[in-house]
Symmetry: C2
Subunit: 359 residues, 2 copies
Amino acid sequence: MSSGGDGVSGAALVEAVAAIFAAAGIAPADAALVAEDLVAADVEGVASHGVNLVPMYVDRIRAGSVSKASGGEIVSDRDAAVVIDARDALGQLTARQAVALAVDRARRHGLAAASVRNAFHFGTAGRYARMMADQGCVGVVMSNTRPLMPAPGGAEPLTGNNPIAIVAPSDAAFSPEIDMALSAVAMGRIRNAAASGQSIPAGWAADQSGAATTDPKAAIAGMLLPAAGPKGFGLAFLVDLLCGGLSDGAIGAEVAPLYGDPVRPYRCAQLFLAIDVGHFVAPGAFAARARTELDRVAASRRAPGVDRVYAPGELAFAARREAGDRCRVAPAALNALVEAGRVLGVDVQSMLSSPRSIT
Amino acid sequence: MSSGGDGVSGAALVEAVAAIFAAAGIAPADAALVAEDLVAADVEGVASHGVNLVPMYVDRIRAGSVSKASGGEIVSDRDAAVVIDARDALGQLTARQAVALAVDRARRHGLAAASVRNAFHFGTAGRYARMMADQGCVGVVMSNTRPLMPAPGGAEPLTGNNPIAIVAPSDAAFSPEIDMALSAVAMGRIRNAAASGQSIPAGWAADQSGAATTDPKAAIAGMLLPAAGPKGFGLAFLVDLLCGGLSDGAIGAEVAPLYGDPVRPYRCAQLFLAIDVGHFVAPGAFAARARTELDRVAASRRAPGVDRVYAPGELAFAARREAGDRCRVAPAALNALVEAGRVLGVDVQSMLSSPRSIT
């Protein structure tokens, strides 16, 4: 099956993915939320965090390492500091729970944080930081992953490429946003280089001995290198410690491989920080400053051969606007989705082939 | 004057620097604090943020762009959110004020932040984050600088290489610590390459047209490039916006050049965030986890030819321990210090040459 030149209807894709999760035992309302979050990543062109994940999520739900609960349990609740035990619920659901708590407490105290332990994958960190920004808070979201990168000079993975996202409220068409993994690149780009027989730049990866390599196969057998060397490692190390340390959750190798044994819970740790800008400055002042700064980037003098300079968050915004309701999904991912549905009695193909879902 | 093989006495250097600031009109107790903070950077081997700065600070005090006040004014104080107008007081003094407020409010609410506008240079961000960690809080400190780096594809500096420091409490001999500027490297390293006639690696800098360059002279006339490309730019952009936006202070080119006209106030903006770990988890639990993670780095398998793998913060700790009370200062910096003292009637040379200051 192919999604065709203009892709499939995003709404139809959300319905199909929601139907799959519902068939796997997730409450329909929860299934719809998780489907929305995943499809949103595909709409932005971040296929690695989109419906591509559904078969693995379903495998884990069926194997019991992802629970069917609607959220986690609040295990500590002290003023601006909340700790949630996700108990292996879907990360999108506990992330929304953490966002709501962090924003509520930030409105009361000025800023607040919810840490989450025993968490499952939540898709893109940026989506939840953006939800906080939409409510007038600077949103900061971070997660740890299993170890993927060595310390400088090391020869074994010690810390994940732990993503961090920050989104600031803005009264422009979009908000300043960063959402970055702390490796130089994702393993996906190295796999692509291996598949096409190309070498990779120095600085992307090390081989099993810890030596930098330009051979993608040695890199795949080895480990990722941090973005900006010691700076990226240091930041990833601190993100790991903040996520696990503030939730009494997993750090480093206590997080399981995401694509590993589906019976073994993933159990990463996450941190959601909300800063209510209205507690610091006059209402509207921060969002107006953000717009001014975004305008400054758009008006920036350009290097030779560059058509357009993009501000942080602008490319994702442009992708959303350009996509409208259309969503491109790679044939392999679409086929895997169809197969995941088939096992559960959901006819994905016909849901995506209804007249309104094709252009 | 030379600091000699083993350097000068750190205590004598603090006294001499404090005497200079006192002679320039700073209250003696304040002068001593600023001197301590500056000398601490020299002890750690970060000469760019050490006593090397004293002549410029003194020029600005004498020109009136740095005030003689002991701290800033608290202009907004709402729960966990405090805004300080530094009114051009020495950054070390307003940083200590911000640290004290952030830690106090974090103890009450779980986490808290103090933003600072119209601020002057405070030395190293890490020193103040460490002060928060020493009081049981994760300390996060950031500052903006004048624009030094273009957006990806841009040809003019839009944002500073805005430093960010994070230090987490630990019950090990040192605390996990990062303190990083967000450019690939500092301009000082490019000046060193120019002085020795060497080329610089691609990725460090761009020329005036915005094109990447390996020529240090073109780089000095051009601009710094961000660490990890778009990731570093995005993070620097957000740090700029957070510092200025949460304090109603300067962003981007509203910050003046540090070494520019000494009559024109610097007026950067800073943010101090404290997270009281005891509000989230049991007393001592976080610090113990931090130690475990530091131990994991020390025990890490090493790449060929590597003697030792260092955890974030360990090199600065080792430098402090090795230095003891001795402090190496480059002859040029020492001569400039002697001259700054001479103008104010302080005999730096004799203060550093007393028997107890020489080994």
